[in-house]
Symmetry: none
Subunit: 209 residues, 4 copies
DNA sequence: CATGAATGAGCCTTCATTCAT
DNA sequence: AATGAATGAAGGCTCATTCAT
């Protein structure tokens, strides 16, 4: 009995470990070579397991990508809302969102790379998950903007759904550039200037030059 | 006599025709299924030629993608500069750029899809071409911004390289959303509101709410 | 305990088995159709494995040929030296060499065919291995001849490097003829008459006719 | 009648030129890369004609090889007989044969390479032609040997069919070595020492060392 | 006669997935 | 649970051959 107890403890921990290891390994390999150019064998080697073992934790290759969005990315995006709520006003909240977004993607570069790649495909493996996450993000932005409008910090004559994309797109591209430049500079420091651009735009409002 | 005239016309057009037909077919197939999930056989069928014929015009599968950037996309981007120059001031120029950008990508949706996909990969087939084109775009934006600063329409305390990404990213995301929503609305109509956001931001500058 | 012993035996034999089976199958197919006209599918069918399995044991099609020379042929040629050493004098040694040569090639007709084919190509897949083996053979012959010269059984006014080719060539051709005639007569019985020709030549030395 | 005469002259010369050019080009390409690794396109380029033109003169790729044996090689071998007949006695004739053999193969190295390759294949494209030519050669040798036996220069207790292979094989191997060494030395100078070996063998006939 | 663009059958090789151990 | 050998379908690419010009 106590013999099996030991096993059970191991079983609940170990497999989970292995799930994590495989997922992380896959993210790394996918990030480096792209999903279709990565092989199960490469992921297995990176994870230090046998090829077949992967199929004990994932239905198939596609499923790894789905799990990436379901588990890894979801977690990150869920953190956004909490972070946003720490802000007092709309601008603070937006700043928190952008800062956290950049921070998380900087913290896990492989995730950042894979996320950027897969969300910009035409035929997306995890369409549902991506749409969901993207919508969550856009909803947060929408809420912030609407709150800001009520607070008087954000103007009202805005095409809201465009504003959402405008903000997400800018952040995305900042990340994308960071990725393709090798990721050697600090991404978070872009947050404040970026939010400033969102709020103020580039226009000169009548001040002297 | 005039009989032969007809023939000559045909003869000079044919080879070019086939290159074009294959390239267009490939762009369509790539756009629909992604580069790696597309097969030479599919492209050939779409183009109405035999599989082997493709290799008379392209070195290999990868080369088709490179040619896409070298030929199709390059042409589009080259048109941007001319369009920009038609503008009188910086804001006009920016508006022209964004409008043309959206118009071209709307005009050729498959190109838009493929361009968006491939430029956001981590391992990019046509890295050189993409970098070149991206830089050209960013240079144009930079020139516009600098001109705007001299004209007094754009404020001077700006992190220029961030502004470039900010603008490109927003446009990119607008296109991306349009693509994933099925491309059933007018993309060009987003140009003016978008440029407005670039210039004015979303902030409320002290007017009454 | 002894239970595992059985398993170990099986486990250690299996992989080797498949390597052998594929190699033998390949030799047979190559012998029958020639290297370039043979397909991986044919070899796989002959070996009773799937096409892909071949690539678990061989890098590619060319590698099978290289392994043939590295493994199969090398082994045969290594046996020559031992056989030669059993002879007392030079003529005995030569006789042993030729006899063993013919015997081995007769014993494995497919090997004989493949060896003859590939060593006479202009562009040889396994150039290095072939050169090495050929040189080993010629060296053996040279040693025999030199010993024979010291023993006084072989005359001294000889162009040694020509003698080597003279002997190897004659043996080769005897094998070649045997192959192309269907291999239905005894090859080894040619050894003694052949060595007699090497030693005595065809000339009539003044004896009465 | 005379009408056709004119045409015949033209027709028989011009096409013949091209036929020759293609055949020579093919021999060169085959010699360099082997039959199966050579392409019609390579041959066409080497001959300075279009791919399709080759099919006006040859039925297919295989046919080029057949024509090589039918035309090129046949011609060379036919010359052997005439050369042999110039000899007075058997040994002279043998010397003439070997000398001419080596001379012809030295004169056209590509022919030599191709001939050696193809005659040693197991599955031979031009089996009939090769057998025929080989037999012609062996017949000549047989005649010489028999004549020599009558003349008393060649001993009678010989296994004739073995002697034939013995001689052909030695010459073949001398050529083969010459080919694989780069063909930079004089092949014909091997003729006399080689014939000496045929006649005298390597044995020491009782003379003091 | 000559051309060379077009064809499409065929082959090598990869790799996701399975399953006996 | 874990393994990794085995599978075989699928795809990129080549090239002998044809045929309209």
């Amino acid at each position: 009995m106590h013999i099996y107890g030991r096993c059970t403890i191991n079983k609940r921990r170990r497999p989970n470990d292995k799930y994590q290891r495989i997922l992380e390994a896959a993210i790394k390999v996918f990030a480096e070579q792209g999903f279709f150019q990565s092989t199960i064998a490469q992921i297995a080697r990176e994870a230090g397991v046998a090829d077949g073992t992967i199929y004990l934790y994932f239905k198939n290759k596609d499923d790894i990508l789905v799990q990436f969005f379901n588990y890894k990315t979801k977690q990150v995006f869920d953190g956004f809302r909490a972070e946003v709520n720490k802000g007092d006003n709309a601008v603070d909240k937006l700043r928190n969102l952008v800062r956290r977004h950049l921070a998380e993607f900087q913290r896990d570069r492989n995730m950042a790379i894979l996320y950027q790649s897969e969300t910009h495909q035409s035929f997306r493996m995890a369409e549902k998950q991506i749409k969901e996450m993207s919508n969550m993000y856009l909803d947060i932005v929408a809420e912030i903007v609407e709150q800001g409008q009520q607070e008087g910090m954000i103007r009202k004559n805005l095409y809201l759904s465009l504003v959402k994309r405008f903000i997400l797109g800018a952040v995305d591209e900042v990340i994308n550039t960071w990725i393709h430049s090798g990721g050697h500079y600090d991404l978070v420091s872009m947050a404040d200037p970026l939010v400033d651009l969102f709020i103020e735009g580039v226009g000169n409002r009548g001040q002297s030059t």
